[in-house]
């Protein structure tokens, strides 16, 4: 079964309107924040996978809880919902394989999204 959260699309996965608004023309902040996301998000996703493999539900719940809002900052709202779902399942500690699918989805979307963000860092606000 494949979760149909992200549809094939030609437009960007990421939406940086919020970040552009809050940057208020501050290119340094804009690029730094994107770099911060690109450093911390892969690390968190990898940790979530490890926790899931080890069935460390509490740690998984915490990681999902923490990464949830950060997807919003770069416009990956669908991934925010995925993380929320992982948090919910990890809280209940009853999983029928749904978490793995959610994690796979997050990883595949991020693979594209990260490239978009790397490109955005090169271009900056201008």
């Amino acid at each position: 079964m494949q979760l149909n959260i992200i549809n094939m699309q030609t437009t960007n996965y990421t939406n940086l309107d919020f970040l552009r608004e809050i940057s208020d023309g501050n290119d340094v902040f804009y690029k730094e924040f994107l770099s911060l996301f690109l450093t911390s998000a892969p690390k968190s996703i990898s940790e979530m996978e490890q926790c899931y493999t080890a069935r460390d539900w509490e740690h998984l719940r915490m990681l999902a809880h923490k990464i949830k809002p950060s997807f919003n900052y770069v416009g990956l709202k669908e991934l925010n919902h995925c993380a929320a779902k992982i948090e919910e399942i990890a809280t209940k500690k009853i999983d029928s394989g749904e978490i793995q699918m959610l994690l796979d989805n997050i990883k595949s979307v991020c693979a594209v999204a990260f490239k978009e963000l790397e490109e955005e860092i090169k271009n900056g606000l201008a």
């Binding site: 940057s23 911060l36 911390s40 809002p69």
Partner: protein, 389 residues
Amino acid sequence: MARIFLVEDDIMVATLMKQSLSKNDKFEIHHFTNAEDCIANLHLRPDIVTVDYNLPGMDGLTLMDKIKSFDQNIMVVICSGQESVEVVISCYRKGAQDYILKSENMIADIERSVNNLAMNVTLRKEVELLKDQIIDRNKYSNIIGNSNAILRTLRLIQKVEKNNMMVLITGQSGTGKELVAKALHYNSDRARKPFVIVNMGAIPNELVESELFGHEKGAFTDAREKRIGKFEESHEGTIFLDEIGEMDMSLQSKLLRVLQEKEISRIGSNKIMKLNFRLIAATNKNLHQEVKDGRFREDLFYRLQGFLIHLPPLKERGDDILLLARHFLNDFAMQNRLAEHVISKEACKFMLEYSWPGNVRELKAIIERAALMSENHTITLDDLTFVTA
């Protein structure tokens, strides 16, 4: 200016909060990733602290308790992913000023909340500043005058009257140093305890030590009876050492020890008494110069500089001269059952231009003499007699 602490372990959230709040150039922002670092920096006196509910180590609510017990006035905003009504209510009950849900709008909500609270902080600071500037004239009815110089002095008195600081009052002879010392004592928590005045210039050198510290019977040839010294008399109250610049060098070192240890022993006794007094000292001398000239101990000089109140000479007090003149005139007329007197325009003009080397004391003497000399209940220029030293 508002000082804001952000306590948030999520670097991305903290970075966004900092960026969002730093748009307001009146905010000074400090970020801490844990409660312990925040507590260690509370001495910086933040106005507002945003606290993550789920901090590693000490949690957000415990941190809020610590912040509030440090200073109840620090405003706390709790940021949390918890939507439970019970959690929200418990945060407000424990003293949070606001509760921000870590939702999509969190950053905008934080910005709005902190901006609103900062407005309260600004208003509170303005009120405190105004309170500080308002002088309760009823408390200082003995100190006559409305000049800027005297109002500045009253503000200083108001600042220091309630605490236990040592105060040094300086100013020319006759400027009212004793009045200020009394105002400090009678508006302090020690008001119902003794106010002991010692004029260092009026006591012969050989008696000063006994006067200050007291003596036991037989301590020296003339010590026929036990005597309680002025320091002992002032226990729990205030001792006012006037003309401290006249104090003998050897006594200065003893005074320094008393001020450091807050204990004395009577001459001829080994018994040490712990005392609790507040010291107010006054001098018309330039103590700094006295130190330079080797007549005053430098360590005592610095010890006395706890809080300095300098009284302006009368000639710098402008219209206060006439206010004081009328006050002394009315007092004198009442005490001597004289009719109400007025002061002629010429006499007023002259008094305003005169240099008053003897300050308020001189003004009082001249007005009282003029009241006796005047005819038709009007003090004219002819009634004012100035005596030059």
